[in-house]
Symmetry: C2
Subunit: 140 residues, 2 copies
Protein backbone atom coordinates (compact mmCIF):
# COMPACT_ATOMS: atom_id res chain seq x y z
CA UNK A 1 0.00 0.00 0.00
CA UNK A 2 1.56 3.27 -1.09
CA UNK A 3 2.02 5.90 1.54
CA UNK A 4 -0.55 8.69 1.35
CA UNK A 5 0.36 11.93 -0.37
CA UNK A 6 -0.82 14.12 2.38
CA UNK A 7 0.12 17.03 4.53
CA UNK A 8 -0.88 15.99 7.98
CA UNK A 9 -2.06 19.33 9.25
CA UNK A 10 -4.16 20.72 6.45
CA UNK A 11 -4.70 24.43 6.72
CA UNK A 12 -8.40 24.33 5.91
CA UNK A 13 -11.31 21.96 6.01
CA UNK A 14 -11.53 21.97 2.25
CA UNK A 15 -7.88 21.01 1.92
CA UNK A 16 -8.37 18.23 4.40
CA UNK A 17 -11.36 16.97 2.45
CA UNK A 18 -9.32 17.01 -0.75
CA UNK A 19 -6.58 15.06 0.94
CA UNK A 20 -9.00 12.48 2.30
CA UNK A 21 -10.57 12.06 -1.09
CA UNK A 22 -7.24 11.52 -2.80
CA UNK A 23 -6.12 9.11 -0.14
CA UNK A 24 -9.26 6.98 -0.23
CA UNK A 25 -9.31 7.06 -4.01
CA UNK A 26 -5.72 5.92 -4.35
CA UNK A 27 -6.13 3.17 -1.81
CA UNK A 28 -9.29 1.94 -3.48
CA UNK A 29 -7.51 1.83 -6.81
CA UNK A 30 -4.65 -0.12 -5.34
CA UNK A 31 -6.98 -2.52 -3.58
CA UNK A 32 -9.03 -3.17 -6.70
CA UNK A 33 -5.86 -3.90 -8.66
CA UNK A 34 -4.57 -6.18 -5.91
CA UNK A 35 -7.79 -8.20 -5.99
CA UNK A 36 -6.86 -9.14 -9.54
CA UNK A 37 -3.19 -9.62 -8.66
CA UNK A 38 -2.26 -6.53 -10.62
CA UNK A 39 -0.11 -3.61 -9.60
CA UNK A 40 -1.71 -0.17 -9.97
CA UNK A 41 0.59 0.56 -12.88
CA UNK A 42 -0.44 -2.65 -14.63
CA UNK A 43 -4.13 -1.87 -14.12
CA UNK A 44 -3.52 1.62 -15.45
CA UNK A 45 -1.87 0.45 -18.66
CA UNK A 46 -4.39 -2.31 -19.18
CA UNK A 47 -7.15 0.25 -18.85
CA UNK A 48 -5.80 2.34 -21.68
CA UNK A 49 -5.94 -0.36 -24.29
CA UNK A 50 -9.51 -0.07 -25.48
CA UNK A 51 -7.80 0.02 -28.81
CA UNK A 52 -4.21 -0.96 -29.61
CA UNK A 53 -1.59 1.64 -28.88
CA UNK A 54 2.11 2.08 -29.44
CA UNK A 55 4.50 1.93 -26.51
CA UNK A 56 5.62 5.48 -27.06
CA UNK A 57 2.07 6.76 -27.09
CA UNK A 58 1.46 5.16 -23.73
CA UNK A 59 4.65 6.58 -22.30
CA UNK A 60 3.75 10.06 -23.47
CA UNK A 61 0.21 9.88 -22.17
CA UNK A 62 1.29 8.52 -18.83
CA UNK A 63 4.19 10.89 -18.45
CA UNK A 64 6.95 8.38 -17.91
CA UNK A 65 9.95 6.92 -19.66
CA UNK A 66 9.35 4.48 -22.51
CA UNK A 67 11.47 1.84 -20.81
CA UNK A 68 9.11 1.89 -17.89
CA UNK A 69 6.22 1.03 -20.19
CA UNK A 70 8.27 -1.71 -21.79
CA UNK A 71 8.67 -3.48 -18.48
CA UNK A 72 5.06 -3.09 -17.40
CA UNK A 73 3.92 -4.41 -20.76
CA UNK A 74 6.38 -7.30 -20.56
CA UNK A 75 4.77 -8.32 -17.29
CA UNK A 76 1.26 -7.91 -18.62
CA UNK A 77 2.28 -10.01 -21.58
CA UNK A 78 3.68 -12.70 -19.31
CA UNK A 79 0.29 -12.73 -17.59
CA UNK A 80 -1.37 -13.24 -20.94
CA UNK A 81 -3.31 -9.99 -20.68
CA UNK A 82 -1.80 -8.09 -23.59
CA UNK A 83 0.07 -8.90 -26.78
CA UNK A 84 2.57 -6.85 -28.73
CA UNK A 85 2.36 -6.98 -32.46
CA UNK A 86 4.48 -5.24 -35.04
CA UNK A 87 2.98 -2.04 -36.35
CA UNK A 88 2.35 -2.59 -40.04
CA UNK A 89 2.94 1.12 -40.69
CA UNK A 90 6.28 1.37 -38.92
CA UNK A 91 8.49 -1.61 -38.38
CA UNK A 92 10.26 0.00 -35.46
CA UNK A 93 7.05 0.29 -33.51
CA UNK A 94 4.99 -2.30 -31.70
CA UNK A 95 1.31 -2.06 -30.96
CA UNK A 96 0.06 -3.29 -27.62
CA UNK A 97 -3.42 -4.74 -27.48
CA UNK A 98 -5.45 -6.54 -24.85
CA UNK A 99 -6.00 -10.22 -25.33
CA UNK A 100 -9.49 -11.65 -24.73
CA UNK A 101 -8.34 -12.55 -21.24
CA UNK A 102 -7.04 -9.00 -20.85
CA UNK A 103 -10.45 -7.66 -21.76
CA UNK A 104 -12.00 -9.91 -19.18
CA UNK A 105 -9.61 -8.85 -16.44
CA UNK A 106 -9.99 -5.21 -17.37
CA UNK A 107 -13.72 -5.58 -17.06
CA UNK A 108 -13.35 -7.19 -13.66
CA UNK A 109 -11.09 -4.38 -12.61
CA UNK A 110 -13.61 -1.77 -13.65
CA UNK A 111 -16.18 -3.61 -11.54
CA UNK A 112 -13.80 -3.89 -8.58
CA UNK A 113 -12.81 -0.23 -8.65
CA UNK A 114 -16.19 0.97 -7.56
CA UNK A 115 -14.97 3.88 -5.46
CA UNK A 116 -15.55 6.76 -7.85
CA UNK A 117 -18.87 5.35 -8.97
CA UNK A 118 -20.03 4.78 -5.42
CA UNK A 119 -18.87 8.15 -4.20
CA UNK A 120 -20.57 10.01 -7.01
CA UNK A 121 -23.63 7.83 -6.52
CA UNK A 122 -24.07 9.22 -3.02
CA UNK A 123 -24.83 12.59 -4.55
CA UNK A 124 -27.98 13.72 -6.28
CA UNK A 125 -27.68 14.68 -9.94
CA UNK A 126 -27.69 18.34 -8.94
CA UNK A 127 -24.98 17.78 -6.39
CA UNK A 128 -22.94 15.90 -8.95
CA UNK A 129 -23.09 18.90 -11.23
CA UNK A 130 -22.11 21.21 -8.39
CA UNK A 131 -19.19 19.00 -7.47
CA UNK A 132 -18.01 18.85 -11.05
CA UNK A 133 -18.23 22.61 -11.38
CA UNK A 134 -16.40 23.23 -8.11
CA UNK A 135 -13.62 20.78 -8.94
CA UNK A 136 -13.19 22.24 -12.40
CA UNK A 137 -12.98 25.70 -10.96
CA UNK A 138 -10.54 24.59 -8.29
CA UNK A 139 -8.38 22.91 -10.90
CA UNK A 140 -8.14 26.24 -12.66
Amino acid sequence: MALPNGPVPASSEAEAALFDLVDVYDRAYETAAAELSLSPAQACVLGRLDEPRGMGVLAKELGCDASNITQIVVRLEALGLVAREPDPRDRRARLVARTPRGNEVNHQFAAAFSFARTAVGRLSPDEQDQLTALLRKALG
Copy 2:
Protein backbone atom coordinates in the same frame (compact mmCIF):
# COMPACT_ATOMS: atom_id res chain seq x y z
CA MET B 1 6.45 9.98 -12.02
CA ALA B 2 3.96 7.39 -10.86
CA LEU B 3 1.39 6.30 -13.37
CA PRO B 4 -2.03 7.81 -12.80
CA ASN B 5 -4.67 5.81 -10.97
CA GLY B 6 -7.36 6.41 -13.47
CA PRO B 7 -9.97 4.72 -15.49
CA VAL B 8 -9.57 6.24 -18.89
CA PRO B 9 -13.20 6.30 -19.87
CA ALA B 10 -14.99 7.65 -16.82
CA SER B 11 -18.67 6.97 -16.83
CA SER B 12 -19.72 10.45 -15.71
CA GLU B 13 -18.44 13.99 -15.68
CA ALA B 14 -18.19 13.94 -11.93
CA GLU B 15 -16.09 10.80 -11.97
CA ALA B 16 -13.84 12.31 -14.59
CA ALA B 17 -13.45 15.43 -12.46
CA LEU B 18 -12.54 13.30 -9.45
CA PHE B 19 -9.98 11.44 -11.49
CA ASP B 20 -8.45 14.65 -12.79
CA LEU B 21 -8.25 16.04 -9.31
CA VAL B 22 -6.53 12.96 -7.93
CA ASP B 23 -4.12 12.86 -10.82
CA VAL B 24 -3.12 16.49 -10.60
CA TYR B 25 -2.88 16.30 -6.83
CA ASP B 26 -0.63 13.25 -6.86
CA ARG B 27 1.61 14.68 -9.52
CA ALA B 28 1.90 17.97 -7.69
CA TYR B 29 2.88 16.13 -4.52
CA GLU B 30 5.50 14.14 -6.35
CA THR B 31 6.87 17.22 -8.07
CA ALA B 32 7.10 19.18 -4.83
CA ALA B 33 8.96 16.31 -3.19
CA ALA B 34 11.27 15.97 -6.18
CA GLU B 35 12.18 19.66 -5.96
CA LEU B 36 13.66 18.89 -2.57
CA SER B 37 15.21 15.63 -3.77
CA LEU B 38 12.75 13.64 -1.70
CA SER B 39 10.59 10.73 -2.71
CA PRO B 40 6.87 11.11 -1.99
CA ALA B 41 7.16 8.53 0.77
CA GLN B 42 10.01 10.45 2.38
CA ALA B 43 8.06 13.70 2.21
CA CYS B 44 5.08 11.95 3.72
CA VAL B 45 6.98 10.57 6.69
CA LEU B 46 8.84 13.81 7.24
CA GLY B 47 5.52 15.61 7.31
CA ARG B 48 4.22 13.51 10.15
CA LEU B 49 6.94 14.36 12.58
CA ASP B 50 5.65 17.57 14.06
CA GLU B 51 6.38 15.76 17.23
CA PRO B 52 8.53 12.65 17.69
CA ARG B 53 6.82 9.36 16.92
CA GLY B 54 7.62 5.70 17.22
CA MET B 55 8.28 3.64 14.13
CA GLY B 56 5.31 1.41 14.82
CA VAL B 57 2.98 4.35 15.21
CA LEU B 58 4.00 5.64 11.80
CA ALA B 59 3.54 2.24 10.22
CA LYS B 60 0.08 1.89 11.68
CA GLU B 61 -0.97 5.39 10.65
CA LEU B 62 0.35 4.99 7.16
CA GLY B 63 -1.00 1.50 6.71
CA CYS B 64 2.19 -0.27 5.78
CA ASP B 65 4.67 -2.73 7.17
CA ALA B 66 7.02 -1.55 9.90
CA SER B 67 10.05 -2.60 7.89
CA ASN B 68 9.00 -0.22 5.17
CA ILE B 69 9.11 2.66 7.63
CA THR B 70 12.48 1.51 8.89
CA GLN B 71 13.99 1.89 5.46
CA ILE B 72 12.40 5.22 4.69
CA VAL B 73 13.58 6.55 8.03
CA VAL B 74 17.06 5.17 7.45
CA ARG B 75 17.24 7.20 4.26
CA LEU B 76 15.84 10.32 5.87
CA GLU B 77 18.42 9.86 8.61
CA ALA B 78 21.19 9.51 6.05
CA LEU B 79 20.01 12.83 4.61
CA GLY B 80 20.27 14.39 8.05
CA LEU B 81 16.57 15.19 8.17
CA VAL B 82 15.51 12.98 11.04
CA ALA B 83 17.13 11.32 14.01
CA ARG B 84 16.17 8.18 15.89
CA GLU B 85 16.54 8.26 19.62
CA PRO B 86 15.81 5.58 22.13
CA ASP B 87 12.41 5.89 23.78
CA PRO B 88 13.05 6.51 27.48
CA ARG B 89 9.81 4.71 28.33
CA ASP B 90 10.51 1.57 26.31
CA ARG B 91 13.98 0.48 25.44
CA ARG B 92 12.76 -1.58 22.49
CA ALA B 93 11.26 1.44 20.83
CA ARG B 94 12.88 4.31 18.99
CA LEU B 95 11.42 7.73 18.53
CA VAL B 96 11.89 9.47 15.21
CA ALA B 97 12.16 13.24 15.26
CA ARG B 98 12.98 15.87 12.69
CA THR B 99 16.34 17.54 12.97
CA PRO B 100 16.54 21.33 12.56
CA ARG B 101 17.45 20.72 8.94
CA GLY B 102 14.47 18.38 8.69
CA ASN B 103 12.20 21.12 9.94
CA GLU B 104 13.61 23.46 7.37
CA VAL B 105 13.12 21.00 4.51
CA ASN B 106 9.65 20.14 5.70
CA HIS B 107 8.80 23.79 5.69
CA GLN B 108 10.12 24.16 2.16
CA PHE B 109 8.09 21.18 1.12
CA ALA B 110 4.92 22.67 2.54
CA ALA B 111 5.64 25.78 0.52
CA ALA B 112 6.41 23.80 -2.63
CA PHE B 113 3.28 21.69 -2.40
CA SER B 114 0.97 24.54 -3.13
CA PHE B 115 -1.56 22.58 -5.12
CA ALA B 116 -4.26 22.05 -2.51
CA ARG B 117 -3.86 25.57 -1.20
CA THR B 118 -4.04 27.08 -4.66
CA ALA B 119 -6.96 24.95 -5.76
CA VAL B 120 -8.99 25.80 -2.69
CA GLY B 121 -7.96 29.41 -3.06
CA ARG B 122 -9.72 29.60 -6.40
CA LEU B 123 -13.00 29.12 -4.60
CA SER B 124 -14.93 31.62 -2.52
CA PRO B 125 -15.42 30.79 1.15
CA ASP B 126 -18.97 29.67 0.39
CA GLU B 127 -17.80 27.46 -2.42
CA GLN B 128 -15.14 25.98 -0.19
CA ASP B 129 -17.82 25.01 2.29
CA GLN B 130 -19.93 23.51 -0.47
CA LEU B 131 -17.01 21.53 -1.79
CA THR B 132 -16.17 20.25 1.66
CA ALA B 133 -19.77 19.19 2.24
CA LEU B 134 -20.03 17.49 -1.13
CA LEU B 135 -16.77 15.62 -0.71
CA ARG B 136 -17.71 14.51 2.79
CA LYS B 137 -21.04 13.27 1.55
CA ALA B 138 -19.44 11.49 -1.40
CA LEU B 139 -16.94 9.84 0.92
CA GLY B 140 -19.87 8.40 2.86
